[in-house]
Amino acid sequence: MKLAITISGKTIDAPFDGRFGRASAFCVIDTETNEWLIRENPALSAVGGAGVQAAQFVAQTGAGAVVSGAFGPNAFVTLQAAKIAMYTAPAGQAFSAQDVLEMFRKNELTKINEASGPSRHGGAR
């Protein structure tokens, strides 16, 4: 299963990024083979709708689950429609994508069932 993790850099040692829509990049790790790929986030410079764009991008990577700090309402709806499971790891702590993978394996991550916070572009309807 492929796991996408938001990171704030472009290498495997880059720290975990708490933002989803405007994360620097995604580290996509195959949980069975441990193969990993870094993919730059195309939504980083979006004028608006970053959450939607990032979610679509994650769907295109074939990930079955994604880990970030929080998912706004638009990202949430899109990921849910794509049947991608959402998890959060506590932000503000200095761990890497590798650490997050370990936490995922040990079931230490929080599974998300609803969006956090209002949309930055107006009320979610």
Binding site: S45, V47, G48, G117, P118, R120, H121, G122, G123
Partner: protein
């Protein structure tokens, strides 16, 4: 780490003057050295005029895109004008062209043009700036005239201020907000721990204050309120006081109409620094003490 954003609804109530004074007072208190400032009124960024900071960095900000028609390749089919819902396509000199001030950047014309001669180009919409003021770092920006104030630049300024505060163990991010209730205000207020509404007791000011409070509540931000120019219309002040009681909003200050405020603005300093013994100066000090006691250090 707390985030305080100063808002008003109506323009000209004194947001920037109050924000500058609070920045000065915060830097003289236990928040000294742990303060990050932000001017998120990117459409009319005035805070630096009273902080007079030293510029440290400027970054170009690219906003949306606009459509550009190649005049040589244009065959004057006119489909672009037909589909444009924003009156942005004009026939001029035998071929079509896009009015950059009206173009919404939707690219509908690009996909409909039979001659394929329209492209989307990035626009430099403004610049993000980082400066160093005597009270702390200032994150600000300026939107170029006529650009869309979508909130993206506001969000960028806010995020940079937040990130610096988080990285450097800051305790308070103080942001001077935009007027109105639309996208930039939403972007400025969302995620703030506290919104300080600067209201003026005029019929227009009260009307707009109500809409701002509704907006702030809609996005789940706690609000406190102060009345500026409080003595020019006592009935107005009384109405605001009633409103605050009914809504359970804490009234943290009443600042009298005072020449000292504009005198300080002209001198390029916050009124609490320039004329600390003025009526306005003293009222703002009292307000600051209340804000700190009941909200910033509260439960």
């Amino acid at each position: 780490m707390k985030q305080l954003t100063v808002l008003s609804g109506k323009g000209g109530t004194g947001k920037t003057s109050v924000a500058a004074a609070l920045a000065h007072l915060a830097s003289q208190s236990s928040f000294a050295g742990r303060l990050v400032l932000a001017d998120v009124d990117v459409d009319a960024a005035n805070l630096e005029l009273v902080l007079r900071p030293r510029r440290v960095a400027v970054e170009e900000f690219r906003g949306g895109k606009i459509a550009v028609i190649d005049p040589v390749a244009c065959t004057s089919w006119g489909r672009c004008e037909e589909v444009c819902r924003f009156d942005a396509v004009l026939l001029s000199g035998g071929c079509y062209r896009v009015d950059p001030l009206a173009c919404e950047g939707c690219a509908a014309c690009v996909y409909q043009c039979p001659s394929d001669c329209i492209t989307m180009e990035d626009q430099v919409a403004g610049s993000y700036r980082l400066s160093e003021s005597r009270y702390g770092p200032l994150h600000h920006a300026e939107l170029l005239p006529a650009q869309e104030n979508s909130g993206k630049l506001v969000t960028l300024v806010k995020q940079r201020a937040r990130l610096q505060a988080l990285d450097e163990d800051g305790e308070l991010v103080l942001a001077d907000g935009p007027p109105g209730i639309g996208c930039p205000v939403i972007a400025a207020a969302s995620g703030a721990d506290l919104a300080l509404i600067v209201a003026e007791p005029t019929v227009a000011g009260i009307h707009d204050m109500r809409r701002t409070i509704e907006t702030v509540e809609h996005f789940g931000v706690q609000a406190v309120l102060c009345i500026n120019k409080a003595d020019i219309y006592p009935e107005g002040t009384a109405e605001i006081e009633r409103f605050c009681r009914e809504k359970g909003i804490e009234l943290v200050g009443r600042i009298p109409f005072d020449d000292a405020v504009s005198a300080a603005m002209v001198a390029g300093e916050p009124v609490t620094e320039f004329l600390p013994h003025s009526d306005a100066g003293r009222a703002i000090v009292e307000m600051w003490i209340r804000i700190v006691a009941s909200v910033l250090e509260g439960p």
